[in-house]
Symmetry: C2
Subunit: 345 residues, 2 copies
């Protein structure tokens, strides 16, 4: 089937293609009468401007790549939603790219910008190849990550403060022996969360016990493993802070398997507030990251960057929020007594 082009419209309306173009882009630069004739011809032909040609001509793609660590992680879905929503409104498209911790894939997506398949890059990976051929960097915004050696517009949360509030909640409930399952500590984000944990304890006059910290991988199983290892080492604890919800869920499952109840015997706090945090039983107390807002903000910064309102590399903080649900409870007297006995023994 033949698609109408600007030429066919121009011929039908008896004007030049330039006038058709103008009528559609700047209607008030065209005499009323001409405009009506053109619009009528547009209607008659069913003409729809070929966006590919328009974008080519304007040397823009109106496409942004959202590059994430792992596309299968629902966490990024919410981010994507925020990005897409904002982009949709502004007439942009969003391509989600899966980095998979694979340099080649990352490189591929960065290359897409050079190949004019996208205008910019929202990075949610912890790294980026910085070879010479990657220079200069495309318009880039970073979300929730930090990339060593790069200073770019960033939307972030205060990981340390967020972790601290989670641990403070446990302290407020009377807990003193609080374990931490961290994320991979190579990443600054996870170091920050651990710092927050330590800071909360220290501020409460508790000397952090290194035995209480176990490092995980963010995967559910690593939450299980961490608990198993804590129990194996017979480290007493009445509460546990996990640096993400999946590990928290894994931890709870392992605690149960060992005969401990949550929250009666052990309180658990997660991080992220993923979709299922509210659905597990009991519903998970956790630190909420407003992912859609984070996504939308990143896209907004991206558009600023692309459309010249760039400003300098600033960082915008999105607030987090502790959501108290069913996995945390006041430290029970009995537990407290039992533990003191254990300690004395």
């Amino acid at each position: 089937m033949k698609v109408a082009t600007i030429r066919s419209v121009a011929e039908l309306a008896g004007v030049s293609t330039a006038t058709v173009s103008r009528t559609l882009a700047h209607p008030d630069a065209v005499k009323r009468e001409t405009r009506d004739r053109v619009l009528e011809a547009v209607r008659a032909t069913g003409y729809v401007p070929n966006k590919q040609a328009v974008d080519f001509r304007r040397r823009q793609t109106r496409t942004v790549i959202l590059l994430v660590r792992d596309i299968a992680n629902p966490f990024y879905l919410d981010i994507y939603q925020g990005v897409e929503e904002y982009a949709f409104g502004a007439g942009y498209k969003v391509l989600m790219g899966d980095a998979r911790h694979d340099e080649a894939r990352i490189r591929h997506y960065v290359e897409m910008v050079r190949k004019k398949q996208a205008d910019g890059l929202i990075l949610m990976t912890g790294s980026m190849p910085q070879t010479a051929e990657m220079q200069p960097l495309p318009p880039t915004v970073i979300a929730l990550e930090t990339i060593a050696g790069l200073s770019l517009p960033t939307v972030a949360i205060d990981n340390s403060a967020a972790a601290r509030s989670a641990v403070q909640h446990l302290l407020d409930l009377g807990h003193r022996q609080i374990a931490h399952i961290t994320g991979p500590l190579i990443e600054l984000m996870n170091q920050k969360r651990h710092e927050g944990y330590l800071a909360a304890l220290t501020a409460a006059g508790i000397a952090p016990d290194p035995q209480l910290t176990r490092s995980g991988t963010f995967r559910l199983d690593s939450g299980r493993h961490a608990v198993r290892s804590l129990l194996h080492d017979q480290v007493p604890f009445t509460a546990l802070f996990a640096s993400n919800d999946e590990m928290a869920v894994g931890a709870i499952s392992e605690l149960r398997a060992s005969g401990r109840r949550v929250p009666e015997d052990v309180s658990v706090v997660g991080f992220d507030d993923i979709v299922f945090a509210d659905a597990v039983d009991p519903p998970l107390t956790t630190v909420r990251q407003q992912r859609r807002i984070i996504g939308a903000k990143a896209m907004a910064m991206m558009i600023d960057l692309l459309e010249g309102r760039g400003g300098t590399a600033r960082t915008e903080l999105v607030p987090t929020e502790l959501v108290v649900r069913g996995t945390t409870a006041r430290l029970a007297q009995s537990t407290r007594r039992k533990l003191s006995l254990t300690e004395r023994a």
Copy 2:
């Protein structure tokens, strides 16, 4: 910063732009010596072909739109992964569009194909506006859905057989009073699942009790509501089949709240095998849909369609699989006795 074009490469190599183009696209249609000179010039200039120009010239976008009902549903994420993976390998891009049960949004994404922003459409919505201006339809593949009045290449599962296997599992465990929480029955998919449920019962010589069927919305809460309404109506049941996992999780949570244990008092089977099916406690018995495979297959069909190996509108079935985990158990003697007493009373 200036980007090298094919012209600059041609000048540096002392050849025509056509030769540069050829060298890159059909290397062996070029004399060895020339080729080397061109490649050297490419290296020297850091030339990368402008994909936008290439695609424009070839009137293709190498982009496919994956249009889903609700982008926030992690279910589609796995589909997306399958689609993206296959597309990545074939040099295609994938744009995920959010239909949100909104005709206007659907129309928008269908329009994108007409505007040459995408080559084709993978539909995962239950409907599609079929106004005159939407004709003719763009290259379209349907996944896991059926759209009334449209006969298009489709990748599907056998919903009826899958549901039947789930219910058969419950029958095998000795259950006779099996409830079904359906998805929205306007959709063929959900009718089919309900048919499978009925067929399994009938084949086992059980007359289905309409009271045991409750319709849900696929959302977690509707699982809760369905159970609440079953209990309120005092319909006895020892097992429950939910047409998706979220409703199953909601149902379990409500069963627990009412003092019933899963699976000791009530067995539960879900549908989908979403990421969290394995993480809830106890892990959910469910029907697995191989979503990545479904996605990949849909993309494969799309490419066939676009690249002319189209064939006719065929349907490919992807097998499902019952995954037995912890929420189903043999009907307990005690329960059986209690129920008979109830029935007699």
